[in-house]
Symmetry: C2
Subunit: 447 residues, 2 copies
């Protein structure tokens, strides 16, 4: 990997990739390109790229005015791929748009992949290739996993890293496409669709420059059992203008994009928070695969009512308890607990916490329900009993969606160590549950 | 305050109020009623209530079967008010409903206020009257403030306490009405409307037993400049059944309740999280009073586009920059930053953080904007500069809504110490901003 515009300052745009590639343990050779220095960040420089020492990847961290020449140098020296960080192209003015088109043509004529300009680069967590200047890697751990990001925005990609890592999710690939002079989101999706490490794809979409290719790639991904979650911006007139100012893209009509996402089997999410929460559910130990019929257990009648309302909004059902389940529950529940779904076990579980485990196991074993939604609130004093009740229920193998308002950090960590995500609010969790299972349920038509 | 069914165990329902009243510093006399003991929790018992020593308030923590006699004792002994914790009334069966009606009639005939049954009691943070058994007070601080809760659900009230205190909000009054045999949410709202300490009311509503009285009280509250935020449950068929099982209430038609809330000038919120976040905004140092025209400043073009979309969804506008503002910005912004609203100041503020403060002050001084929305992401390395930029802008006095994704805990605390809430997600914050200002903008019709 060559870095053109390599800086001795590890906080500068041309310094960060050098820092990150070593910090995160990239094993390949890293070569700063600088005619005026022997060394940059303790790495030996070359004065310029040459055909005798061809690079797999060149990162160009030069200002826009110098980017053209740098790309020409890369092409002449036989680089296989180029990442162009430089801003000041199509997003700025017409001259920038023309310069960008010129670079793309040159790269394409040479058969070379060009990512950017105006992008934050890529990360491959498996090979530790942190070819980016995102500040998100300043303090991160870059855990390896099955979740990948692709998007025009590098900043949103940075927040995605921060949120994914904070949520305990592992990362596979991270691709920011910026202005997309050549490599587009469709290309990124083809790569992720075929990447064996990626199981879940989070996308931030401003526009799609190759919608048909994108659609095909999405179908390959879905056939491979992958889920794609997408944020699409530029839905409003103001948003469209902001998109144009950002990456020079035309966000187009939202109705068009919605139908395209629908056709692709892609699940649209409203925010990064929703994307990450959906990922927490889908990457949990027993992810919900098909959710229509919920058994709901709560410690609060009010919460039970709110869960029913939220389930209704999300298109999920809370059916009556079958007679045989009611019979089994009769042996477990106190008299004053109504045998109704949602089951409000009340504060009675404070004095008899194992009862909660029995109730959950009974419901998990019933064919009448696809998933169990458990609502807990506070109850720090009996947290150990609650955790063992959840552990017992988990063993049955049925998806368990846990909403625990006011859980202590210890409870939360203990439960998440079991591979069960802890959620803290009702409407958003039911909405996520419906979204997490919607694209999987969709039949994918062959082209 | 007398506690009937007082328990020596501070974790039991009859033990918690005794514990809390002392723990939180209630200054009045607290009297356990127990014929079999001299002392309970180091407080001197009386064997029974008597007319010679009349109580202002009696808390009845007895089982349903014993509740009738306890209430009769209270009435005979001239108590002025009764809180009935006991469950097992209208929410359980018809016999329970009749027993409940009987108690209510007896209290009303005696001119005595009866709260409950099936409730968690009340808290007055100012007088430290913690007349409740909610587990939320186990580890809380009960800070004094202007935010009050009223609702049929005590459990949701408990989560409300936990969330409000975690968010740094102070509490005024907390009223759980349970089955509402006599005292209803309308009565609670009359009290809060006239309570000089309460500026903001959060309500959880399953049904309204005195809708006209509620409507009148809401108008008194709004005329006094108070805002009411309400969660209404039982919107769906399943939710209605769950409400009936919870407090024996009939949640009625949602269209009816929506029009009633609209007529009352009450802002409906979807969740406790939304209620608390709206409260954080309304109780901040410079709360938005009238928000239509937003100046948006971001460090990410993608975030700018998402903010425009979310503003559009929320009915807020992001107008063009006036010519004089553009002129002033010309002196501040680098060339490659487009002079457009939203203003994407880009990573340029990393090397020139004071510029952000100048930009914010320029926008805050312009009459073209009602509020400023500032989006920051990560940037822990320049957090001090960001905080001083925000501090400078705040001094102009215009509402500043800050969305900071991936802020460090230190940044967050420093900003919140200025009285500016830090939000972390785009769509929910814009939605809250619109909701926070909607009821204030509504003209309140005199009856």
């Amino acid at each position: 990997v060559a870095v053109i515009g390599a800086s001795a300052d590890p906080l500068k745009i041309g310094g960060r990739p050098l820092q990150y590639l070593r910090l995160y343990g990239y094993r390949g050779r890293v070569v700063p390109v600088n005619p005026n220095r022997q060394e940059v960040q303790a790495l030996q420089c070359v004065p310029h790229l040459s055909l005798e020492d061809p690079m797999d990847l060149a990162i160009v961290a030069a200002p826009a005015a110098a980017a053209g020449e740098a790309v020409s140098d890369c092409l002449r020296a036989g680089c296989k791929a180029i990442i162009l960080f430089s801003a000041g192209f199509a997003e700025l003015d017409d001259a920038g748009r023309q310069a960008q088109q010129h670079l793309a043509r040159a790269a394409s004529d040479a058969g070379i992949a060009l990512l950017g300009p105006n992008c934050l680069g890529i990360i491959n967590a498996h090979t530790r290739l942190a070819a980016t200047f995102t500040t998100a890697l300043e303090n991160s751990q870059l855990p390896v996993g099955a979740f990948s990001y692709m998007g025009q925005s590098g900043a949103l990609g940075a927040y995605w890293i921060e949120k994914a890592v904070s949520a305990g999710l592992g990362i596979s690939k991270w691709i920011t496409t910026g202005n997309e002079a050549q490599v587009s989101l469709a290309d990124a999706l083809w790569y992720l669709a075929e990447d064996s490490h990626t199981r879940l794809i989070g996308a931030y979409v401003e526009d799609l420059k190759q919608p048909e290719s994108f659609l095909e790639a999405a179908q390959v991904a879905l056939r491979a059992g992958k889920t794609i979650l997408a944020i699409k911006s530029g839905r409003s007139e103001g948003g469209r203008r902001a998109v144009a100012a950002h990456t020079g893209a035309d966000a187009g009509s939202d109705a068009y994009y919605q139908s395209l996402l629908d056709e692709s089997g892609i699940t649209r999410v409203a925010s990064l928070t929703e994307m990450i929460d959906t990922a927490r559910l889908l990457l949990s130990r027993t992810p919900p695969r098909h959710v229509q019929r919920l058994a709901v257990v709560t410690v609060s009648g009010g919460a039970g009512a709110l869960i029913c309302d939220a389930a209704h909004d999300a298109g999920l059902s809370v059916p009556d308890l079958p007679a045989e389940v009611t019979r089994e529950l009769d042996a477990l529940l106190p008299k004053f607990v109504l045998r109704r779904n949602p089951i409000d076990v009340t504060g009675a579980i404070v004095s008899n916490t194992p009862m909660l485990g029995e109730v959950l196991v009974t419901l998990a074993r019933s064919d009448a329900f696809d998933s169990i939604v458990l609502f807990l609130g506070l109850m720090g004093s009996i947290q150990e009993g609650l955790i063992s009740a959840v552990t017992r229920a988990q063993k049955v193998g049925k998806p368990l969606i846990l909403i625990w308002m006011g859980a202590t950090p210890e409870s939360r960590h203990a439960i998440e160590a079991l591979g069960i995500p802890v959620f803290t609010e009702i409407p958003s969790t039911l909405s996520i549950l419906a979204k997490a299972t919607s694209s999987r349920a969709r039949p994918i038509c062959a082209k």
